[in-house]
């Protein structure tokens, strides 16, 4: 061993350290030299071109066929529904297709006065008529269209019967054009959230002649959505669509409210990779990101607080619990695990022993611990029930169920789809249950479609899930748990619960409705076919030069008032 020291210890560095320092110096030096070229974002302020990161490549641009969020963002530019929303509060506004409406005393008849100066974007500038809406709703509800969002139109009288093929005559469905510009809805039952629902694109109209020109009404895929064919009624027109590259929409000067529209152009970039998107944002390539990787949030909040937008979001992250028991031919382990999960006390022990705050702290984006199922901020609703986390109670429940300290429970199988965050949450919960209750959990990571298949076929004990509200009302979170509901997928069935959801649909006053929903949610939190973990937040980077784009709980952003402030750069 040599005792000689080589030079000043301050200067001794390992090759790795040296390399990092070199890179650092290069980066630092060049920062000073790179500031002369204006970024795209800076130039965009001059031309009012809004550059958006938009997640995945849209599956299509037919509002009655697709179901994705990226598509939703694009629809807000090229299409328009009956009712607008206030950008911040989401309250219904009369600055869209209908200039006014009346609601009958019993809440069953809605009459919309359509705007006479609203036009389609075709060369002839056809007016948007009540007949176009009727045609569109026929299209959504028609069984042959097989629209995945057809259930959104079930509030219409006979809508469900027509969609399921029990009723063949569309004229029996509760939507009528009284004249060219008067549209009437007859509802199945009073639906207090109808106006909020109307802001969902499944309710937005399409241009009938365009649909017919390129195919049949019920055709699921036709070239009508191509830029050269597309006809819409929104403030922008579709001008370019390059796959995996960009979608460009330009302001329509003939749009009825064109004076209010300040942007000239919006470009949607389908940047699917979150890291690439972050780089795009920080290099001034886009104004707003579609999402944010979890590990960036702390850093971003610290470094770019004015550009990091984190807001409550109408969504809940939870675990499904399989209540259907084991399948014939299952091994003894699965049989025992499923049998344990059929015991309410075991489910409760699992739910009460999750330390949600620890999970939220770990995710660090302001997610709220979920002790109920309906997110806070849901319009006109407040949870009356709350899971009281308590390890002691959980332990005694488990013992009561005959599994003291987890003895006798074989490993539970918890499934989640491939995602860094899902893995983290699953691992934390796995540890908490193991330490707290002595219950062992095996984690199974599956890619998306396999995971969906696993859940749909009840091949899981516990499975990660999430639900994002379709509209701002507790119904979107609670009606899915009725017996045999398509999205239930837990086997949960509770007669009183089903009745409460039915009653809530017919409730005469908001107070009565609230009470019914509250009771339903407390049943859900007592029976626990689901273990809620946290309520979502929406996470974006938003360039500070973007103005009049306030956050809201549905993370929906109309383009009407948005503008880019050129003064920001001076």
């Amino acid at each position: 061993m040599s005792t000689k020291t080589k030079g000043n210890p301050r200067w001794r560095v390992t090759p790795t350290q040296a390399a990092i320092r070199c890179l650092g110096w290069i980066a630092l030096l060049s920062f000073t030299s790179s500031c002369d070229r204006p970024s795209r974002v800076e130039m965009a302020a001059e031309t009012q071109t809004f550059l958006m990161g938009n997640g995945a490549e849209p599956e299509g641009l037919d509002p009655h066929i697709v179901t994705g969020v990226p598509e939703n963002r694009i629809f807000h530019s090229i299409l328009e529904g009956l009712v607008g929303i206030d950008h911040a509060t989401l309250a219904p506004t009369s600055d869209a297709g209908a200039e006014s409406w009346t609601i009958s005393q019993d809440g069953l008849v809605y009459t919309f006065q359509l705007r006479k100066n609203a036009t389609w974007s075709n060369a002839e500038r056809d007016p948007v008529t009540a007949h176009d809406y009727v045609y569109s709703y026929n299209r959504v509800l028609h069984p042959d269209t097989a629209s995945k969002y057809s259930y959104m139109l079930y509030p219409l009288k006979n809508g469900e019967a027509f969609n399921k093929g029990d009723l063949k005559d569309f004229s029996q469905v509760g939507v009528k054009a009284l004249d060219d510009f008067t549209l009437e809805f007859q509802l199945e039952s009073p639906t207090p959230y109808l106006l909020s629902m109307l802001n969902h694109y499944s309710w937005w109209p399409v241009h009938p002649p365009t649909i017919e020109k390129h195919g049949e009404m019920t055709q699921r895929s036709s070239p009508w959505t191509r830029p050269q064919n597309f006809v819409g009624n929104g403030p922008f027109r579709l001008v370019e669509w390059k796959v995996n590259n960009r979608i460009v929409v330009e302001k329509r000067e003939d749009y009825w409210d064109a004076d209010r529209v300040k942007l000239n152009k919006v470009i949607f970039y389908p940047i699917e990779n979150l890291e690439t998107e972050q780089r795009a944002f920080h290099q001034g390539y886009i104004h707003v990101t579609y999402e944010m990787p979890a590990h960036r949030i702390r850093w971003s909040l610290e470094k770019y607080p004015e550009a990091t937008e984190i807001d409550p979001y109408l969504g809940v992250y939870y675990f499904r619990v399989n209540l259907t028991g084991s399948k014939p031919g299952a091994d003894a382990q699965r049989e025992a695990a499923r049998a344990a999960l059929k015991d309410k006390r075991v489910r409760k022990a699992l739910a009460l022993s999750v330390n949600r705050k620890a999970i939220c702290d770990f995710l660090a984006a302001g997610q709220l611990p979920a002790h109920g199922f309906v997110p806070p901020g849901t319009f006109g609703y407040e949870s009356a029930s709350s899971l009281e986390e308590s390890l002691e109670k959980a332990k005694s429940l488990l013992a009561e169920a005959g599994y003291p300290n987890g003895a006798g429970i074989p490993e539970f199988h918890l499934y989640y789809n491939t995602h860094e965050d899902h893995k983290l949450v699953a691992e934390i919960v796995q540890q908490q249950w193991n330490k707290g209750l002595g219950i062992r959990v095996a984690l199974f990571n599956q890619e998306w479609k396999s995971y969906l298949n696993t859940v749909a076929n009840f091949n899981y004990d516990l499975a990660r899930a999430a639900w994002i509200g379709d509209y701002n009302d507790p119904n979107t979170f609670l009606d899915m748990w009725v017996t045999d509901g398509g999205n239930n997928q837990t086997g949960f069935s509770h007669a009183r619960y089903d009745e409460l959801i039915r009653l809530a649909a017919r409730a005469s006053s908001p107070e009565e409705r609230l009470a019914l929903f509250q009771e339903a949610e407390s049943i859900l939190m007592d029976e626990l076919p689901v273990i809620p973990i946290y309520f979502y937040v929406s996470k974006h980077m938003l360039h500070p030069s973007v103005k009049a784009r306030p956050p809201n709980i549905l993370d929906r952003h109309p383009f009407k008032d948005v503008y880019l402030d050129p003064n920001y750069f001076n």
Binding site: T225, V243, A280
Partner: protein, 304 residues
Amino acid sequence: MFKFVFYRLLQAIPVLLILSIITFVLCRVAPGNAFLDERAVPPSVMKKIEEANGLDKPLPVQYFVTMSSLLAGDLPAIKNLGRTVNELIAETFPYSFELGLIALVIALLLGIPLGVFAAVRRNTLADYGSMSVAMFGICLPTFVLGPMLVLVFAVGFGWFNPLGWEEPSDRVLPCLTLGTYYAAYIARLTRGGMLEVLNQDFVRTARAKGVPPVTLIVRHTLKGGLLPVVSYLGPAFARIISGSFVIETIFFIPGLGRFFVTSAFNRDYNMIMGTVLFYATLLVILNLVVDVIQVLLNPRLKFQ
């Protein structure tokens, strides 16, 4: 030679046929399907959707319909509504082709000289040095090298855009990233091939007769030394021009490479079939081209 080419093309037909059947079967046994979504839909709706896409028919019929419409060019993509598989490939392939071609040129320009240099200076520090660089290039994954280049040259110096494929300068970083990987491989292959040739008697004779070193390398040995590179180039060229998922994702290039991965995740059966057969056809053709070139370069081989 034409007979040779003809027979080789004839042989390709059963290969592609078997490949398409395997692909078709694998798609159908994979769990889930193209229409499965986070939001469950009623069975009646799912049935209609499957009907609309011909999934209700017996499997042999489905296979036949898929293949015949693929050949006719009107096989619809499932996850890109309103577009056909052929259209999508035609729209995105040019990007991947350009990216791959430039990258390959970079790879050859870097790799061959490096390999020759190493072979000539065999077992010296220069040899070890350049082969270490090559090894580094092979081992360093593109998803590390790509962001590193971006960090230095786009974020740091601000010479290039960090992503996109719009300005001519946008080609530099992705092509360099992709090219480096192949360059490293080519360098090692060149070195190996050159060493073999340099050990042969005719080289010693030429040297003894006083042929200058540069002439010796360029005129007498390079042709033989590059044979391994040429046979590698066939499949490599097919792979490099059909797109790279990683590069296209990192640099946000709208190429074909992304479809190889996304269509499998999305269970877009039609697009999977399209990309697999497209790639296979490229591979078959380029291998054939390489075989022809090999015979032209190597007088010991004959068309058989």
